[in-house]
Amino acid sequence: MIKIIFFAALREQLGCGDYQLSATEASTVAEVKAKLVALNPQWQSTFENQSLLSAVNHDMVSGEHKVKAGDEVAFFPPVTGG
């Protein structure tokens, strides 16, 4: 399985904090996103937001980054700490 988590405004907009996909359903971060939207059409506009960031196993990555079983994939808005 691939564990997927959402943070901050994104989590509130989706009304959902985490999700799971089978590793056969997506091989890149972009495909994870596409799959999430395919399974939850109401999320489409939220995921179309170009500024969303993604991380795999705690490292910031781009959409082409590969994912595999056991990975933790996170999506979140631009960070605003400090």
Binding site: A8, A9, A74, V79, G81, G82
Partner: protein, 154 residues
């Protein structure tokens, strides 16, 4: 370089942190600290407090990386980063960066660098409580530009 990173709900004591940076450390003549606090206003709106969310695990990893880059660029003694999470009231401390070095230039540069990168890379999110209700803050272009400047300078 010795570094300590803490992500915590509870407050911290500035004097204690600086004492730890200086203790048994008679070779570093320069100590620079940055404190970020909850302001009472933002973009013209009165603010009554902040809520800080983070991504446990990634936050620490991200700060480790930022400090490692700073340590490659400058000659540093000790580095301390504390970032608070959860509910914070006006005037409370949000973030502390403390850096010691033999040279003030290195201590100043590294402290500012760590803050600039923390702002755009460490997974924290602020929700502001204003007179018009709750609102997640938007990231600032100016913060992105400021972080990028380190790539060209020096």
């Amino acid at each position: 370089m010795a570094k300590v990173i803490s992500i915590q709900e509870q407050d911290y004591n500035l004097a204690d942190e600086v004492a730890l940076l200086e203790q048994d450390n008679d070779c570093d003549g320069a100590v620079v600290t940055f404190t970020g606090r909850v302001r009472n206003k933002n973009e013209g709106l009165k603010v009554s407090g902040l809520y800080l969310e983070h991504y446990p695990g990634m936050t620490e990893k991200s700060l480790e990386k930022i400090i490692a880059i700073a340590n490659q660029r400058w000659s540093l003694g000790r580095v301390r980063v504390i970032h608070r999470i959860g509910q914070l009231a006006i005037g409370e401390q949000i973030v502390f960066v403390g850096v010691t070095s033999m040279h003030r230039k290195d201590a100043f540069a590294a402290a500012e660098f760590i803050m600039d990168y923390l702002k755009v890379q460490a997974p924290f999110w602020k929700k502001e409580l204003t007179e018009q209700g709750e609102k997640w803050l938007d990231a600032k272009t100016s913060d992105n530009n400021k972080a990028k400047q380190w790539q060209s300078s020096e």
